[in-house]
């Protein structure tokens, strides 16, 4: 039966693929000399909604659109796959929550902070129930405790409450943010592990590997930047992460070099990089690999979860590359310099 529902999702995906930016547009975007040129080119594409009246490019709008598309796509997926994609979609909510918590914690102007929020529609199906107005109201909460109070009853109440006492004592957002990340990724891993057959394989390919590398990067970041103790690093990372489990983490906390652990995951770092440079290199390599796999997968009919995940990854990759171009353009990098940091290859 799932093959039939996947057939419907394929129809939806095929139709939606047409609205992606084409190669010509990417070349034009890289050729843009100023932010105004960039806005002009984007205005002629489906990404025009991201260009505000004053010419500012707000990529959060596109992220909101991806969330909406994923919400629609979820309707066509069978049970376990639907749960996974719904949960995967919550990464936008987590991002909004972090923005809100930071804004409230540092006492930023709610109106300005609201511009950094991803405009998410309410999601009755996944039970998030948080429309754009709701997110903005949270910005007005006045204190982190008030934000937590307003989120009582939401899926995020438990991780927030668990970290509340430490936040109160230390007045740092770190325990809350780590708590949210672990809450999100632990559930994501559980949902991937609950899948069977080709769905499980595709989820491992498109999400599992990303989670594994993400977990490794966290561990090294806590070790390198945070100077944390082994037990703290182990408590702030995932013990089951689709390939980066407890054994890997124990090696990391005991001082294993990054290049060796990256190699175990099939990632080859150029020699001579510092650990800090290696971390960004790993992140880029994995994202490029995921992009290539996703681009190859949507080109052929996939009557399993792979088609849906590949499609969503392509949408994410598009916004990610646009962000690189916008930032590169703002600091005056040339098109060739920017192109090196993109996931797609532009001739």
């Amino acid at each position: 039966m799932s093959a039939f529902t996947y057939a419907a999702s394929q129809g939806y995906i095929r139709a939606r693929l047409h609205s992606r930016l084409d190669q010509v547009t990417w070349i034009r975007l890289l050729d843009c000399k100023t932010p105004a040129d960039l806005a002009l080119v984007l205005c002629q594409t489906h990404a025009a909604s991201a260009v505000s009246q004053d010419g500012e490019v707000r990529l959060q709008v596109l992220r909101g659109e991806i969330a909406s598309v994923a919400q629609a796509l979820v309707r066509y997926l069978p049970g376990a796959a639907r749960k996974l994609v719904s949960w995967y979609n919550r990464r936008f909510e987590i991002e909004n929550l972090k923005t809100i918590l930071r804004s409230v914690h540092y006492g930023l102007d709610p109106r300005r902070a609201a511009r950094s929020l991803i405009p998410l529609r309410s999601n009755a199906e996944t039970g998030a129930g948080a429309g754009p107005g709701h997110w903005e109201a949270l910005l007005e909460a006045g204190s982190v405790a008030a934000v937590m109070e307003q989120l009582r009853g939401s899926p995020y109440a438990a991780p927030l409450e668990q970290a509340a006492e430490r936040y109160r004592q230390e007045q740092r957002l770190f325990p809350i943010e780590v708590g949210l990340d672990l809450f999100y990724f632990r559930r994501l891993v559980q949902l991937i592990e609950a899948l069977k057959g080709s769905d499980a394989a595709q989820a491992m390919l498109f999400l599992g590997r990303w989670i594994a590398v993400q977990n490794l990067i966290w561990a090294y970041r806590y070790r390198i930047y945070g100077g944390m103790s082994p037990e703290e690093i182990l408590n702030y990372t995932l013990h089951r992460a689709c390939g980066t489990g407890l054994e890997t983490l124990r090696r990391v906390v005991l001082g294993a070099p990054l290049a060796g652990e990256a190699q175990r995951l099939g990632l080859h770092l150029p020699p001579g990089l510092s650990e800090i440079q290696s971390l960004s290199q790993i992140e880029l390599q994995v994202e490029q690999e995921r992009y290539r796999r996703a681009a190859a997968a949507v080109g052929r009919p996939l009557f399993d979860l792979g088609g849906a995940l590949a499609f969503l990854l392509l949408l994410d990759a598009e916004v990610r590359d646009l962000a690189v171009i916008v930032e590169g353009n703002a600091v005056g990098l040339t098109g060739a310099e920017v192109a090196r940091h993109l996931l797609r290859s532009i001739p």
Binding site: M1, F4, T5, A7, A8, Q10, G11, Y12, R14, A15, H18, S19, D22, Q23, V24, I27, R28, L40, V41, C43, Q44, H46, A48, S49, V51, Q53, E65, A72, R75, R111, A137, E140, G142, A146, E149, Q150, A158, Q162, A163, E165, R166, P175, G179, R186, S229, P230, E231, E232, L234, N235, Y236, H239, L246, R250
Partner: protein, 626 residues
């Protein structure tokens, strides 16, 4: 609208009651939002928060919206009445709330102590002596349940003891111990696992069995106090319920207005209210605003800028069409410059469904399923009923019921006229694609997107090429069209190939380098031509499914004889109706989304959400900028 400060709340209230203005944030130079209204808005948010807490503490359901509470709103001063009313209730309730909170806290504290002391029962050592351990570090506290195994894994470098004692909600009470030299590691691990330590209550004195008896007597006494306080709650709810409901409704409505006004830019004594309003109710808005202000209000009405992408779009649907709107909105909301295709999609979806699922009996079963669903979920129920009805109508055309050819087919039996039905399906597809082409022309015209109108693959040149290729195909296959029509194809192909340079030359559109434009143009032309053929032939599945449906039904019929025949008939029919019913629905949807929408529809519209005192708004269809 330029509104004077004294009028702003009356005007905003009138606009909210009318539910016809979708507010838009603008920020002209030298205009800034009013800080005073931001404070007022926050004040109402605070009031609502406090009201919510009171309602929840007293076990009162959130009140429904009330017209009475929304009459005569003055958000600039209503907060005083609301806050004083709230403060009066809070002062009456707060002593009870504090007593309850303290009692509950004490009860929890005592129960935790009880569970800790229970662990110590085997010991014959006074509890007070355990508080002063020297060579061991002992910690008791709650941590998230999922962190218990994680913290054990994290302590892999030291010897330690970690005993889960009991679960409460998502947390587990644990006892953790390590030698004094490892105390710092244990503490770091527990802290990073979000452990909240608890202390053994000071009431617990003497040997563990004696301390336990003391604690249990204390717990019973506190529990009796809490039961008494719950009875008090019912009295308080009866006393303050209606007043709280009234305050809550008023605070909600005032809060909505204050929140709207705080976003209006202000210059001197003038507020600027900007938003979208359906064209046919501009006069209604103007008169509502002027009536509220008591004098004329400066209002500038502008037509939407055609280059602007984000204009909220609203579509008014006839009542009967509303259950089918999901067919389009699932894909995306039509943007302002696009025609909403719900009517075409509904009609074509039902025709395609019926064509693939034509059978009087199966259609009737589907209709009954739809009627059953209707009571639970009206939208889906109506759609299934319509699909069943379409199946019945095509059942008449095919003369079939449950696979029996009981009637003379008004049109044909699919298995007897395979070529006819396949060609009809493709013909229907060609018709639908051409409707898509037509809609694309209208959308392009409305958006003044001339390259799209004239030279793109779904524009006039593309349509002409499609018909020339179709004519060429017919001339080769049947000789019904003169072959020289094919000579037009290269000319049209070249126009489409040169699309980008032409768009630059004629309409001044941005164009990449000529070499690059021609290369991409060539591949796009190739994709367009293959797309015309594959999109048209894709509809052949309508005929194929009709034939398959009749074949499958006949198969069920063939094996439904004999003593177990009834079982074959029932199971077979369930499979045909349930299984195939879903498949043809998906196929029809796929044809709509991929073949049909790909010709003209982009979606991505912004929904029109007018300012209102409630949670929803009304629909309209054409907007103007106010």
């Amino acid at each position: 609208m330029f509104v004077l400060e004294p009028d702003v709340e009356a005007v905003t209230a009138a606009v909210a009651r009318a539910e016809i203005l979708h507010l838009e944030d603008v920020q002209p130079e030298d205009w800034t939002p009013s800080g005073e209204w931001a404070d007022l808005s926050n004040r109402y948010t605070g009031c609502l928060q406090r009201l919510g807490e009171l309602l929840s503490a007293l076990g009162i359901a959130r009140p429904l919206r009330s017209q009475k509470a929304e009459a005569d709103l003055h958000p600039s001063r209503d907060w005083r009445d609301i806050e004083s009313g709230l403060a009066a209730i809070e002062s009456s309730v707060s002593s009870w709330q504090n007593r309850l909170r303290e009692a509950e806290h004490r009860l929890e504290h005592l129960k935790l102590g009880e569970s800790q002391v229970q662990l110590l029962l085997p010991l014959e050592v006074p509890v007070e002596d355990l508080r002063g351990l020297r060579s061991q570090s002992l910690t008791v506290g709650f941590m998230p349940t999922e962190n218990v195994s994680r913290v054990a894994a994290a302590l892999f470098q030291i010897p330690f003891v970690l005993i889960p004692l009991q679960q409460r909600g998502g947390n587990t009470l644990v006892l953790a111990s390590a030698s004094s030299e490892n105390a710092a590691v244990l503490e770091r691990a527990l802290k990073s696992a979000l452990l909240e330590p608890i202390d053994v209550p000071v009431e617990a004195m003497g040997r563990p069995s004696e301390a336990l008896g003391l604690l249990r007597r204390e717990i019973q006494a506190v529990q009796r106090q809490i039961d008494e306080m719950h009875r008090e709650r019912e009295q308080l709810a009866g006393q303050f319920g209606s007043e709280l409901a009234n305050l809550s409704n008023r605070a909600r409505a005032d809060g909505k207005l204050a929140d709207a006004i705080r976003h209006f830019p202000k210059h001197g004594e003038v507020f600027l209210i900007t938003g979208w309003v359906p064209e046919d109710v501009v006069d209604q808005l103007k008169s509502a605003v002027e009536h509220a202000a008591g004098h004329a209000v400066a209002m500038e009405v502008l037509k939407p800028d055609r280059n602007r992408k984000q204009i909220p779009s609203l579509v008014r649907f006839p009542r009967w069409l509303r259950p089918f709107t999901d067919l389009v909105t699932t894909f995306g909301l039509s943007s302002y410059h696009e025609l909403d295709p719900t009517l075409v999609v509904t009609v074509s979806f039902l025709i395609m469904y019926g064509m693939m699922f034509g059978d009087l009996g199966h259609g009737l079963l589907l209709l009954l399923v739809g009627l059953w669903l209707w009571r639970r979920h009206a939208g889906i129920g109506i759609m299934v009923c319509a699909a069943g009805t379409s199946g019945i109508l095509f059942g008449f055309l095919y003369g079939a019921a449950f696979g029996h050819r009981i009637l003379r087919a008004a049109w044909l039996h699919p298995m007897d006229g395979i070529w006819t039905i396949l060609l009809t399906a493709v013909g229907g597809g060609v018709l639908l694609l051409n409707i898509g082409f037509g809609l694309n022309l209208v959308n392009a015209w409305r958006a003044r997107d001339w390259p799209r109108f004239w030279v793109e693959k779904n524009g006039l040149t593309g349509i002409a090429l499609y018909w020339v290729l179709l004519g060429g195909g017919l001339s080769v296959a049947f000789g019904v069209v003169p072959k020289y029509i094919l000579l037009l194809a290269p000319v049209l192909g070249v126009v489409m190939w040169m699309r980008e340079p032409l768009a630059k030359w004629i309409w001044g559109r941005h164009c990449a380098g000529i070499g690059e434009a021609l290369t991409t143009g060539f591949f796009e032309l190739f994709e367009a031509v293959t797309g015309y053929a594959s999109n048209s032939l894709s509809f052949i599945r309508l005929g194929a499914f009709a034939v398959a449906h009749e074949g499958l039904s006949a198969l069920v019929l063939k094996y439904s004889g004999g003593s177990w025949g009834w079982l074959v008939a029932v199971v077979g029919t369930v499979i045909v109706v349930g299984f195939e019913g879903v498949i043809v629905g998906i196929q029809a949807l796929r044809l709509e989304y991929y073949e049909f929408f790909g010709r003209f529809f982009e979606g991505g519209g912004q929904p029109f959400i007018p300012l209102s005192l409630g949670t929803g708004g009304r629909n309209a269809n054409v907007g103007v900028w106010v």
